[in-house]
């Protein structure tokens, strides 16, 4: 509104970031319908605070921080964390296949990693997704999770080790890289 009655600078923020924040929240909540709600909430909150944001602020990292907070509150409030964990564990044990070997099955591999990620403790899941999927730096991730950059990094590494074990449990790994 108001600064310029016809063009709201916030519209370009929505245009630039909504799809990515939505994608992040699908993984953060593991439910697309929750991502629909929380991504809206993220931008509604951002809209109200946008004016107070310093002009040199990293808008993208700031949106991730809001989305992350909302995800954490969401799980705190609804106690859905455990339910998600149970679902993920059940899902993982039904499947068993080898490590994927190429592009052809890349999306299948992605789906399997996503399932394992769903079962991770929330902070690890969020840190992993921000770092590995959205490539945020550890400072930004630390700010989102109210922890230091070092802790953020530790969460990501913990997640990687658990994912690696999750894949390992399913099948023996073949180890030689193809030339």
């Amino acid at each position: 509104m108001v600064r310029d009655m016809t063009e709201d600078p916030f519209e370009s923020v929505v245009a630039a970031h909504h799809a990515e924040i939505h994608r992040y929240l699908v993984r953060a909540t593991s439910r697309p319908s929750d991502a629909d709600d929380l991504s809206q909430e993220t931008f509604v909150r951002a809209y109200k605070a946008y004016r107070a944001l310093p002009p040199d602020a990293n808008v993208r990292a700031w949106l991730f921080a809001i989305a992350t907070n909302l995800s954490r509150n969401h799980f705190r409030a609804e106690g859905r964390r455990r339910q998600a964990m149970v679902m993920a564990t059940a899902g993982a044990s039904e499947r068993g296949s080898s490590w994927p070997e190429g592009e052809a099955i890349a999306s299948q591999a992605s789906a399997r990693i996503d399932r394992i990620v769903t079962g991770l403790p929330l902070k690890q899941r969020l840190a992993f997704t921000m770092r590995k999927v959205h490539e945020l730096d550890y400072d930004a991730i630390g700010k989102s999770l109210d922890c230091s950059a070092e802790s953020a990094r530790a969460h990501v590494f913990q997640a990687l080790r658990k994912i690696r074990r999750g894949l390992d449990d399913l099948e023996v790994v073949h180890t030689e890289r193809q030339p």
Binding site: H22, P100, S107, A111, D114, R161
Partner: protein, 319 residues
């Protein structure tokens, strides 16, 4: 990689870091040394590298069941709704003291005399909560127009108005009728009551104007008591009412805070010609049935012509 081996256990985080391309020089050297002699950890490093590649695919892989388009559309309509409810405001210095100005997408929603910036802020926050956002730049142009007006560089504030803070339909009708009073003209509370077809509601009119959310733009200072007393303004700021009227060329008795009816041109209800105060029986009409003008110029500015009997054009009131 041997879980029984202490070195293998301790080096695992560095394997992860090297695979992720985030290890420092010394950790990298340590890993290189170790995998040179440990087949298990060499394989493990390789697995982490493969894993990094798979993880990178997550960036491109489609997400089952996720479609941001609908959510985005809902978001846009929520934002439009919030936008229409929001007001931006600023608090400025003026010849009449500190003034708070607020406006929305629809128009100016508040002009208010405030004791201090903090008092203005807390008033508006109480009234509007999170929907009021301080943004001086957004109301700067409105402020400039108001300053011009107060410095007699303009006689019209052609602002679109947002009457969100008018409390009732009755108050809206009172404010709308008051907004019709021309620059340099006055009438009484009873005059406004007659204009909205509620001639008995004089006190209610006074009450409605006391809570005028947009003074100056809705010129409640042009509405006075039937006896010619200025009565009240914005609480106890009768001095401001006097200044606003003086600015418009309305003669005000300084001591008594009274309009000098004998020094003003008169327009009777339903007429299109204005008169000098002594024309016919017009001087005996109650203030509620007439409109007074401080000058011919302001009467003629709204399309009135001089009375052909008393000829104010030939016999102007001496000031």
């Amino acid at each position: 990689m041997n879980p029984e081996n202490k070195t293998c256990r301790e080096i695992e985080p560095d394997l992860v870091a090297v695979a992720a391309g985030e290890a420092g020089a010394s950790a990298t050297r340590g890993v290189e040394r170790h995998v040179g002699v440990c087949r298990g950890c060499r394989d493990e490093l390789e697995r982490y590298r493969v894993l990094e590649g798979m993880v990178a695919d997550l960036r491109r892989a489609p997400l089952a069941g996720a479609d941001p388009a609908l959510s985005r559309a809902e978001l846009e309509s929520r934002l439009a709704d919030i936008r229409s409810r929001m007001v931006a405001y600023g608090i400025f210095s003026s010849p009449l003291g500190k003034i708070l100005i607020a406006r929305s997408e629809l128009g100016v929603s508040m002009v208010r005399y405030v004791e201090s910036e903090s008092a203005g802020r807390s008033y508006l926050t109480r009234l509007a909560g999170g929907e009021a956002v301080e943004d001086k730049a957004a109301v700067e142009a409105t402020y400039r127009e108001l300053l011009d007006y107060l410095n007699a560089r303009g006689t019209r504030l052609g602002w679109p108005l947002d009457l969100r803070w008018a409390g009732s339909d009755f108050q809206r009708r009172v404010l709308a009728a008051t907004a019709q009073l021309p620059y340099g003209a006055v009438t009484s509370y009873s005059g406004i009551a007659r204009r909205i077809g509620a001639p008995a509601s004089v006190r209610a009119v006074a009450q409605a104007l006391r809570h005028n959310p947009i003074p100056i733009a809705i010129p409640c200072h042009r509405v006075i008591g039937s006896s010619g007393d200025l009565t009240g303004y914005a609480g106890s700021k009768i001095g401001l009412k006097e200044r606003l009227l003086s600015l418009e060329g309305v003669p005000v008795g300084r001591r008594a805070h009274r309009i000098e009816r004998g020094h003003m041109y008169i327009l009777a209800e339903g007429e299109v010609e204005y008169c000098v105060p002594s024309c016919g029986s017009i001087s005996r009409k109650p203030l509620g049935e007439v409109t007074l003008f401080g000058s011919r110029q302001h009467a003629e500015a709204v399309g009135l012509s001089p009375c052909t009997a008393c000829r104010p054009d030939l016999h102007p009131i001496s000031s």
